[in-house]
């Protein structure tokens, strides 16, 4: 998206140099760079601190004046974490929860988006309006009744209960629909003339062309659910099915917490590491995905 660079700065005052490219005075560029470095420091610093403190000896974390770089590295904090929290199991729970929600909503949202984007049927307009209205209902406002429904079905403390209410979402459907609308009509007309059925067109014509949007939705879904706190917090009272974010919050982040900072940072590191790695691998998709959601507004 920003790969093709702007020819002029938003600031305006630019000077043409040989070759046609435009450059601001060196002093200005140094200032801009300094500002960006400062921003990166602000965003990256807490992450660096988590990583360093997680491997620091206890007495160095609980020490004034605090020091950033530990004198030696230790795994004691991780041992302390494992004593308080079934980390491995809850990481697995997070993976099952976020992974299943992502896979299910990939299936359900794409099917629905296809019908809304590529099929002409009676009631589509009304349905679209209703769904747009639905998008404005905040999940938090429905927490209580959803919990009651899940509870009456016996779903509390089960993966079923964590996953099924999230298996489809209107925002995801709309993201995909907006993308599918932009695909040329000729694509499916050609397939239709060849006698392909509706599902065939969906599967082998439209889906392959929707990959960027699918990946974006999948990433957002996975990250959102892996990081979610409130929903797993209320749906699980049992540490066996509780995802890591909620488990961590209960152990480290409450007034009654007695976990030392080093242990908290070890837990925080385990919770963020998979996502940070995922992000660094496919960061382009994340950034373009945000741009995509922003553009439709």
């Amino acid at each position: 998206m920003t790969a093709t660079a702007a020819l002029t700065t938003a600031g305006g005052a630019v000077r043409r140099v040989r070759g046609g490219a435009t450059r601001a005075p060196i002093a200005e560029r140094v200032l801009v760079l300094a500002g960006l470095v400062a921003l990166v420091f602000v965003t990256a610093f807490p992450v660096v601190v988590i990583a360093l403190a997680a491997f620091s000896p206890q007495q160095e974390v609980n020490h004034w004046p605090p020091r950033l770089i530990p004198s030696r590295l230790t795994l004691d904090n991780f041992a302390g974490l494992v004593e308080r929290l079934p980390v491995l199991q809850q990481s697995g729970n997070s993976l099952i929860f976020a992974g299943t929600v992502t896979l299910l909503s990939l299936a359900l949202n794409t099917l629905a988006a296809y019908a809304l984007a590529r099929m002409d049927f009676r009631g589509r307009g009304v349905l679209l309006t209703v769904l747009i209205a639905t998008m404005m209902i905040p999940f938090q406002a429905l927490l209580l009744p959803i919990y009651q429904i899940a509870s009456s079905l016996g779903w509390v403390n089960t993966f079923f209960g964590l996953v099924v209410p999230r298996a489809a979402d209107v925002a995801g459907i709309f993201l995909l629909r907006q993308f599918m609308i932009t695909l040329p009509r000729d694509l499916d007309s050609a397939a239709r003339i060849d006698g392909a059925g509706e599902f065939r067109i969906f599967w082998s014509v439209i889906l392959p062309n929707t990959k960027p949007a699918l990946l974006t939705m999948a990433l957002f879904n996975f990250v959102g659910n892996w990081n979610d706190l409130l929903w797993p917090l209320i749906m699980t009272s049992d540490s066996e099915v509780r995802p890591l974010t909620a488990g961590l919050a209960l152990v480290t982040g409450s007034a009654t917490s007695t976990a030392p900072y080093g242990v908290m940072m070890a837990g925080a590191l385990i919770a963020v590491l998979p996502l940070v790695i995922l992000y660094l691998v496919v960061q382009r998709r994340f950034v373009e995905g945000v741009a995509m959601t922003g553009m439709k507004g």
Partner: protein, 322 residues
């Protein structure tokens, strides 16, 4: 459904326009319509089932519950609008509403201005490492609010925090920011701004790409300075992006919960209790289901109004563009 002809008799394919009666043609169209709709709803079915079951039904149930004194025990009694009256006259709920509004009033401008500022710094081709800067500034987006909260309560710890220490070196003594009523709400807001401004930056970067280049050129030829250009070209060009981010920030602000749950538990002295935090404590801790449902509907209405404002402004933009 009054088809007069027998359906069994062979009919040659009908040419376009039809040589049969319009009556018949219409029936055929209706059947085709029904077939198409059946197919479409087969595609929509699974997703609609989830949305009906876990959005529509809960929305209705919350509305009904909000008019009762349901508590999870015994049969709930109908109490009319008592819960709403109680909520809007209760000092503690009004405090939570005020906190939420204050939070939104700090969060939205801050996250938008820092996001826009970062986007303006990055939106130029005469600086190196742009990809790296963008990646690093967007990073907090993938970090959960829970982890961000744990990290910042460590960094700002009055006795052990690195940031507390560094600031004390330059003469700024923070004290216990999360434990002091006056600073707790701004502090939890700041953590949310930290986590989200990179996200807003990326939205603005996309918006900046859509500002027509020739306008900058024209402004330059007219001798407009950089501020003039910013206010006359850049900002107007970002208008629809701006609507989107303002509503996005406000809706997000009204849902604040995670960092409050972890860092302050609504305290000190209710200074950081927000609407969603109250829904959580009233509903899931105190089992005041009816009351919490009324609070849920307040949240729903606020969000709905914000969403409708956005739709309205958007449709007006589109009209102007046409």
């Amino acid at each position: 459904m009054t088809t007069t002809a027998s359906p069994r008799r062979y009919r040659p394919p009908v040419p376009l326009g039809g040589r049969r009666g319009p009556e018949l043609r219409r029936a055929e169209l209706r059947r085709a319509d029904a077939r198409r709709a059946a197919k479409a709803y087969a595609f929509l079915g699974p997703a609609l089932l989830i949305i009906v079951g876990f959005v529509f039904l809960p929305a209705i149930q919350a509305l009904v519950t909000s008019f009762t004194d349901a508590s999870g025990f015994g049969d709930p009694a109908w109490v009319g609008i008592d819960n709403y009256v109680d909520a809007l006259t209760s000092a503690s709920v009004l405090r939570a509403l005020l906190n939420t509004v204050l939070y939104a009033a700090m969060y939205a401008p801050l996250v938008i201005l820092t996001g826009l500022g970062a986007a303006l710094l990055l939106n130029r081709d005469d600086i190196p490492f742009r990809g790296f800067f963008r990646t690093a500034i967007f990073l907090p987006f993938v970090i959960s609010m829970a982890v961000a909260s744990i990290a910042w309560s460590f960094l700002l710890d009055p006795d052990l925090g690195l940031v507390t220490y560094w600031l004390s070196l330059v003469g700024v003594h923070l004290g216990d920011v999360f434990g002091t009523a006056a600073t707790a709400l701004p502090a939890v807001t700041a953590v949310a701004v930290w986590k989200n401004f990179g996200y807003f930056m990326v939205i603005f970067l996309a918006g900046l790409q859509s500002v027509p280049r020739h306008l900058y050129e024209a402004a330059r030829l007219d001798g407009a300075g950089r501020w003039r250009t910013f206010f006359a070209v850049t900002l107007p060009g970002l208008r629809s992006t701006m609507t989107f981010v303002v509503i996005l920030a406000l809706i997000g602000a009204f849902q604040a919960f995670d960092q409050i749950y972890i860092m302050t538990q609504g305290g000190p002295d209710h200074a950081t209790e927000t609407l969603v935090y109250r829904i959580y404590t009233d509903g899931f801790r105190d089992f005041k289901l009816g009351f919490a449902s009324a609070l849920s509907y307040l949240l729903l209405l606020i969000t709905l109004v914000l969403g409708l404002i956005q739709l309205r402004i958007n449709s007006r933009h589109e009209e102007e563009l046409e």
